[in-house]
Amino acid sequence: MRHSLISNKISIVLKLTIFVLALTGAAQMPIFKRYYIADLPGLGWLSDFYLTNKIHYIFGAVLLFLLAYIFTLYLGVFSKTHCVTVSGKIKGLFFILVCATGIMRVIKNLNSVTLDPFTVMLIDWIHLGFAILLGLIAAVTFITGKKRYLKSLKDH
């Protein structure tokens, strides 16, 4: 996918962004201090909830930029010659859910907005749940090898 749709540079930026988001997202749970991870040299910042939240916001914006860029590129150029595979569609759906609930969390955190408490809980659980699922998919992919997310229409 990355060789045809996006350049190596963008692929590296995307992977780095997802790594930082996963790390700072996990840091939103009070686990890094409890399990002494934040005690390791250079990792003390992981126990600062405000700092990690701001980093999560910044890289969240970077991810939204990259995903919008890739999606537009696919629609504008590659959709005529390629189609998304089933595993690509599943992963894409999970990304959409995580991003949509992430955006809703950002909206919820504005001073001018108060969401219904049940909606807030639903947003948080979907965001956390599907982020974990994406992590599991990444782990499985790492072990079993890369899946193709795009295939050429000529293959049919």
Binding site: R34, L64, N109, T114, W125
Partner: protein, 324 residues
């Protein structure tokens, strides 16, 4: 001076607006509806005699919400960091915040302009307008209601105590051995439930006053729609030259203290420590996130434009090659 009968009428009016706004998924507090739906409590510290009636009423009325922990507590990992916080054998403690005491009175003596003032300050959750405890809870257990009440759901909370860490006053207090964590991974995640003042949300739902307000013999507190209370606060400040706490703190709270003595003096004279929130100046904790939200809003559109430019270049270079 603050009058209780005015507050009751205003409070019911605000409650009606608040209930109506519950049906709205979004609530812009700059809008008319929200101005009347958020309820603010106003505490006139010159009236408080420190009798403790409010503390007792809070404990009695909210007693059924207090934790009933199961013992022995599950062993937690790692022992050095995940420590038991057990207040169940010290339920009588009423001079600080605990899971069994959501309101206490801080009594201080301060000299201002040559006069010695004895000031009693009822202390509890301030119910922030933009509460970091609710915003940053990763589990959706803390929430802000349309009527301005900030609550922690005892059935959902895992007791990670992040809310206490991010709260500028470190208000919520933990009780181990109770709550959802016992049914998940009690040894490895969570450590009980966090407790704090819920401003008697259940009484407010029924159109009643919070217990601390109803029990006060000196009418120290009143509750009412935000706009109305703030008007009164500004009038009192203007007329008497008093000082306010809670208007600017953490970007604004739904609790406002009024005092004839500057709060810097009250803060300096107050006890400090766990369960003892000070009265220091507090910047808006979520201000940076408010600013960063603009970047999140712009990012997808910028990506869309960048993608269109890239796609345009790709198509035109392909056409160029075909022409050659």
């Amino acid at each position: 001076m603050v009058k209780k009968n005015i507050s009751r009428r205003s409070f019911v009016k605000g409650l009606a607006a608040g209930t109506a706004s519950l049906a709205m998924p979004f609530n812009d507090h700059k809008a008319e509806a929200s101005d009347t739906s958020e309820l603010v409590t106003l505490l006139d510290l010159s009236r408080c005699i420190g009798c403790g009636e409010c503390v007792e009423a809070c404990r009695t009325v909210n007693g059924h919400k207090f934790p009933q922990p199961q013992k022995p507590f599950p062993e937690m990992v790692p022992k050095g960091r995940a420590k038991v916080e057990d207040w169940s054998d010290r339920r009588e403690v009423d001079d600080r915040l605990t899971p069994y005491n959501w309101l206490y009175i801080e009594s201080v003596e301060v000299e201002y302009k040559g006069v010695v003032h004895e000031i009693n300050i009822p202390r509890r959750c301030l119910h922030c307008q933009n509460p970091p405890c609710a915003n940053l809870c990763p589990w959706g257990a803390a929430e802000k209601q349309q009527n301005g009440i900030v609550r922690i759901q005892p059935d959902v909370c895992l007791g990670g105590a992040k809310c206490r860490t991010v709260c500028p006053w470190h208000i919520p207090q933990r009780q181990t051995g109770v709550g959802l964590y016992l049914r998940l991974l009690p040894g490895f995640a969570g450590n009980g439930v966090m407790y704090k003042c819920d401003r008697c949300y259940d009484r407010i739902d029924k159109g009643e006053l919070p217990a601390c307000i109803e029990a006060c013999p000196e009418s120290v507190q009143k509750i009412g729609p935000r706009r109305e209370i703030l008007n009164e606060v500004h009038n009192i400040i203007h007329e008497k030259g008093w000082f306010a706490y809670g208007l600017e703190e953490n970007g604004g709270t739904n609790t406002v203290y009024l005092s004839p003595v500057p709060f810097e003096l009250l803060d300096a004279a107050s006890r400090k420590g766990p369960g003892l929130p000070g009265l220091n100046k507090v910047d808006a904790a979520m201000e940076d996130e408010e600013n960063l939200a603009a970047a999140v809003a712009i990012a997808p559109f910028a990506g869309l434009v960048a993608g269109m430019i890239k796609a345009g270049r790709f198509v035109s270079s392909k056409l160029g090659k075909q022409e050659k």
